[in-house]
């Protein structure tokens, strides 16, 4: 468990959320979403590492010198999560483009017709 990884993940997520909340420009919100995603992906990857750990498919008896390596399952999860992050960003950008075309502005304060 590398403690710095978790610190970085924590900061990434918090900064991402802060960026999503405080920035009025839509692009910056998209960037904030991306930040949050990367923070979480880093978290999942760093979860897999145990010093002296191995993949859950080996049981104790077959442990040999070469079988010490990082748990592969979180990496698979991270792959999917990265793909999902990419799709989210792509869709956000498309929506922002069309919003700009329709509202003529990128400030989220002007884009508030649905309220109340």
């Amino acid at each position: 468990m590398i403690f710095t990884n978790y610190l970085v993940c924590f900061f990434l997520v918090v900064l991402g959320i802060y960026c999503m909340v405080s920035q009025k420009n839509l692009f910056k919100i998209a960037v904030g979403m991306g930040l949050v995603d990367y923070g979480v992906n880093l978290l999942i990857v760093s979860v897999g590492f145990h010093d002296g750990g191995t993949a859950p498919i080996f049981n104790i008896s077959e442990l040999t010198r070469s079988s010490f390596f990082v748990d592969p399952i979180p990496q698979a999860l991270t792959l999917t999560s990265i793909v999902i992050g990419a799709c989210t960003t792509a869709m956000t950008l498309c929506l922002i483009i069309m919003l700009y075309k329709q509202y003529g502005t990128l400030q989220s304060d002007e884009i508030r017709r649905l309220r109340g």
Binding site: I17, I84, I96
Partner: protein, 657 residues
């Protein structure tokens, strides 16, 4: 027979995804083939799920399907599994029926739109992912399905991008929805860090006894994540924006099906995986290790449910847009379901499931009527619509059935489930002697009256009153749109009249399956696995009710009384007395049949929309103005509310659990 059924769950999901793929391939040129492909996909998935009902619901079996045959090795789950027990099949039933009805409806509803290929591809992907989420037995698999569901829902909300506000609603839904999904992902990561497995069954075995703060934080994250999918308290403005602009069949899917997936996630989380809602489970576990504090979880979930229920009903009160009002109501009904699920008693859970099913039916009916009104008149503004029941009698009758059942009038299904909800809430209050649940019961009753009030407002301002000259030439919607509505209406009445049959066939198995975590674990990991982790075996709680309600008897009485009254009425007027004089259209100027205007010629003066319920709004004007400003419509505020929700949930869970 058993092994033949084995493949049905995965087949049902794959058929829908395959339908999406083929429709997008083939559908570009030819509309008929595209519709046919989508229809076949929906029908096959419907048939597959329905055929599963007998073995699972009636005989109580559980199908565990290990994708690509990765059986658990040495009692450790490696592969991804689909686990279908009575609870997931119950939700699968709701999903499949809602998908079929909304699919048939959209064939006729979307005829005026273009690029329908994208619509149907996204639609069948949405239904496939929702079905996948409900049937999956693996936590990360649920997360992936949630992501697909959110994407397709966002894309479909923005489908009519020229519609005023559609893009804005979709963008907000995407941003805050992704925040919700990220919190689910964080929860999954934390659980994996401790348990090193993501299979629900194995987690259910290991988690209750596991004593570490990380799993508690993971519970908070997962709860908020699923809550955001069910649009609970801080996330409810999203749903209002998304519904108001989405096409009607999609708002049916969002409100009827997406919220149910959020509810399903919470039930799985609380009842099977963490098993921390049920008090007697907690006591049983006390001997082994110190489990989570079940009372707090009950208060937490019920509290969120009550707050959602009350705020959304009052917000719905002075809305001007028909669909936006329906959206707020659908979240308040989900608030009902969550409140009762949080009680932790068997009666509570079965009442919650019953209300979830009823909610999909009557809310679907109401959204489809809203779609019909929009399709016929083109506007959804409550202040300018009016008097449509003359032009659209079919839709008006359907709307009345839907409105009557959502506000809980006796012969309809809304009443049956709300009646069980009050029983559960007050029975819980009686058992624990805690005044909080009495407040819950009173809040539930008052919310039901406010729902009735706002639906009377909608009925008066859309269907009754005088016809706006602007909509003089509206015509009834095509039969194709009304058949799905009639299907839902008949379902409304049937489930309302025979609640004990529904309880016996659908609810009892689903409730016992949800509470029977040990059975869930053994089905997936082999017999005796749960015992090894000292998970208490399941004692079915008997559900007894503190009042009586036989709808059939009641209906018999109502019919006989109506007969009696008709006899009295006929006695009174004989044929010679001018019984009922018809409005003869040949003398248009005959003032006799003008409505009384204290003498004036009756000009168009529709009383509807925002000028109703002045007394109530006047007394609560400070509350309403505060709520109006609070829903500011800016993306950042909604994200702030979401983040605040995560923070509050975390703090509460860490302190109390």
């Amino acid at each position: 027979m058993y092994d033949f059924m084995y493949h049905f769950p995965v087949l049902a999901i794959m058929v829908l995804f395959l339908g999406a793929f083929i429709a997008s391939l083939v559908g570009r040129r030819n509309a008929v083939i595209r519709n046919a492909v989508v229809l076949i996909a929906m029908v096959t998935s419907l048939v597959l799920i329905l055929s599963l009902v007998k073995p699972i619901l009636l005989e109580g079996q559980t199908i565990t399907y290990w994708l690509s045959n990765w059986e658990p090795v040495g009692d450790w789950a490696i592969g991804i599994s689909l686990e279908v027990d009575a609870l997931s099949l119950f939700f699968a039933l709701i999903v499949v029926v809602a998908v079929f009805v909304s699919g048939v409806y959209s064939f006729f509803y979307m005829d005026r739109d273009d690029s329908l290929v994208n619509y149907y591809t996204l639609f069948s992907m949405l239904s496939g992912s929702v079905l996948g989420l409900v049937l999956s037995g693996d936590l990360f698999n649920m997360f992936v399905m949630i992501e697909i569901m959110t994407f397709t829902a966002v894309a479909l909300t923005a489908f009519r991008n020229t519609y005023e506000g559609a893009l804005e609603g979709a963008f907000k839904y995407l941003v805050v929805g992704s925040l919700g999904s990220t919190s689910v992902l964080i929860g999954i990561a934390l659980i994996y860090s401790q348990m090193h497995t993501l299979n629900l069954a194995q987690l259910a075995a290991m988690l209750p006894g596991y004593d570490s703060p990380v799993t508690i934080i993971a519970f908070a994250f997962l709860f908020v994540g699923f809550g955001s999918k069910a649009f609970l308290f801080p996330f409810h403005p999203l749903a209002a924006d998304a519904h108001a602009v989405a096409p009607a069949s999609i708002s049916l899917m969002i409100s009827g099906v997406l919220t149910k997936c959020g509810v399903y996630g919470i039930i799985r989380l609380a009842y099977t995986v963490y098993q921390n809602v049920d008090v007697n489970v907690m006591n049983a576990l006390k001997s082994v290790c110190n489990p989570m504090n079940a009372n707090f979880v009950q208060y937490f979930i019920t509290g969120v449910g009550v707050v959602t229920m009350f705020i959304c009903v009052t917000m719905a009160f002075n809305q001007h847009n028909f669909k936006r009002l329906l959206a707020f109501h659908s979240i308040s009904q989900v608030g009902y379901v969550i409140t009762v699920i949080g009680l932790g008693s068997a009666l509570g859970l079965s009442a919650g499931l019953f209300h979830a099913m009823n909610h999909t039916i009557f809310k679907g009916l109401l959204f489809l009527t809203a779609g019909a009104v929009q399709h016929a008149t083109g506007s959804l503004d409550l202040d300018e619509l009016g008097g449509l029941s003359k032009k659209m009698p079919g839709t008006c009758a359907l709307f009345l059935i839907g409105a009557a059942s959502i506000s809980g009038l006796p012969p309809f299904n809304g009443f049956a489930s709300k009646w069980m909800i009050y029983q559960a809430a007050f029975q819980k209050a009686g058992e624990t002697g805690n005044f909080f649940f009495v407040v819950v019961c009173v809040a539930a009753l008052i919310t039901s009256v406010l729902t009735l009030a706002s639906f009377i407002k909608v009925a008066q301002s859309v269907f009754f009153g005088q016809l706006n000259p602007k909509f003089a030439k509206t015509r009834e919607v095509s039969l194709g749109m009304r058949i799905p509505m009639w299907i839902l209406a008949i379902l409304c009445v049937v489930t309302g009249l025979f609640p004990d049959k529904v309880q016996q066939w659908l609810l009892a198995p689903a409730t016992s399956a949800a509470m029977n975590a040990a059975g869930y674990i053994d089905a997936a990991m082999g017999q005796g696995y749960a015992a090894s982790f000292s998970i208490p075996s399941f004692q079915p709680q008997s559900i007894f009710l503190s009042g009586a309600w036989q709808p059939v008897m009641w209906l018999l009485l109502l019919v006989s009384v109506t007969l009696a009254v008709c006899i009295v009425a006929l006695l009174g007027s004989d044929d010679k007395a001018p019984a009922i004089s018809e409005t003869n259209t040949d003398t248009p100027a005959d003032p006799k049949y003008e409505s009384f205007f204290s003498g004036e010629a009756s000009v168009y003066s529709q009383v509807g929309g925002s000028d109703l319920f002045w007394g109530f709004k006047h007394n609560w004007r400070h509350y309403f103005s505060f709520m109006h400003n609070w829903h500011s419509g800016v993306v950042n505020d909604y994200t702030l509310y979401g983040a605040a929700a995560i923070a509050v949930a975390l703090v509460l869970c860490v302190i109390f659990l």
